[in-house]
Amino acid sequence: MAKWLKDLFEDYMEEELGEDLSSRFLCPTSPVIGGIYFGSLKSLNENKPNKPLYFLIVDKIDYDIYEVLKVSDRYEFARNSDIILDIGTLKVIIETDNNFYLTENEINKFILIHQITEEELNNILAFRDGEKPSHLKTGFTPLFEEDIRNKFNQEEFNQIKDYHMRIFEILAMPDVQIVELLPEHLHQYEMKYAASTDQKATYKDDMILYQGEDFIELVLDEKYLNKNVKITLDDKVIYEGVLKDQSIIIPYEGKQLDLDSLAEKINIQTEG
């Protein structure tokens, strides 16, 4: 093993930030898909060392959970699964086999230092999925198990292991109650004039109705939880069964709906 690489690894293992970044003020902003962020590992957990932590946000997988890839400025340890990227002020590696999950609040403890292009992001994700875009620069394939690049990769994973394992908590979350409706059932509630309103929410007795970008959400009063309910729209049954969550999602990609009229036509009954 090259001595310089061994020395670099020792330096990496001992590296800590001089400044305590975990306690500084940062104004909350929305996470940027394709953004490379920098901060301290300690910001995620006080018991972790004050080591530098870089990551790239690749996807929003749930309401408040983002998938990120570990990024490092230690490009000398790049393996064949790492993409080497020059981001102007730094040369970094995107560790495509080292993903983990962070909430918006956690991401807000880090600084956005660079934003890659949509094309670069797509290339990175395609590479992870097995494609080999020729223009991407990657590291070396370690020939031996004890190669220091493997040690580096293992240590990189150990730093964020807890956040990698979060996927199991996410998968264990109860499934969202989704109701499929034919588009014609909602077309009659579409606003006739484009500029007539941009109202996205309304309420009625025991429910609140919200129109998102590609879904309608019915939030029912908590008194219906774990009860057998029947929900109808214009006498058509759209949900029947035990309510396990206050929210019911109806996928819908269309025009702005007249939510007040729609809410009027939705009825909730308890059964049994």
């Binding site: 909350p28 807000n108 600084i111 929210s247």
Partner: protein
């Protein structure tokens, strides 16, 4: 259904849309005003506080002096009265980090000129930052980011 159920299950994005659509019942206002005292630990809370303050300052039917005064000692009768009469300004508020310029941002803020005090309900806005602007403008104000 009471809006406190939405707050409890953290559906702040729906709360904001109800505020924007003025779909608010009177009996919800106590719970909504209570949101203003929450620490800005979550961007969703910060954004909801912003929409709420904007609604209260725009539509006076939602302005309840007694709810303001019960929130904090900061809201004495004089300040509440000034808030009620004032017209807010929507401005971009520079938050500058002298140690690291990269952390400096332009935040959108609602500002109301006041005669006696300068303060913000955002827990992440440092009083020193407000004091700098107060000195530069020679004006007290209430600010919500």
């Amino acid at each position: 259904m009471h809006i406190r159920q939405l707050i409890k299950i953290e559906k702040f994005y729906i709360v904001r849309e109800l505020l924007k659509a003025r779909k608010i019942k009177d009996e919800w206002l106590g719970d909504l005003y209570a949101l203003l005292t929450l620490p800005d630990e979550d961007n969703e809370i910060t954004k909801t506080k912003y929409e709420l303050i904007k609604l209260i300052l725009t539509e006076k039917i939602y302005f309840k002096p007694e709810l303001f005064t019960s929130l904090s000692n900061i809201f004495d009768n004089k300040i509440v009265s000034e808030l009620f009469k004032a017209k807010y300004k929507e401005v971009y508020f520079p938050i500058y980090n002298v140690d690291n310029e990269d952390e400096s941002i332009l935040a959108k803020a609602l500002v109301v000129p006041l005669s006696s005090k300068t303060f913000s309900l955002n827990t992440f806005v440092k009083s020193e930052s407000l004091y700098t602007i107060k000195t530069a403008t020679n004006q007290n104000f209430f600010c919500n980011v």
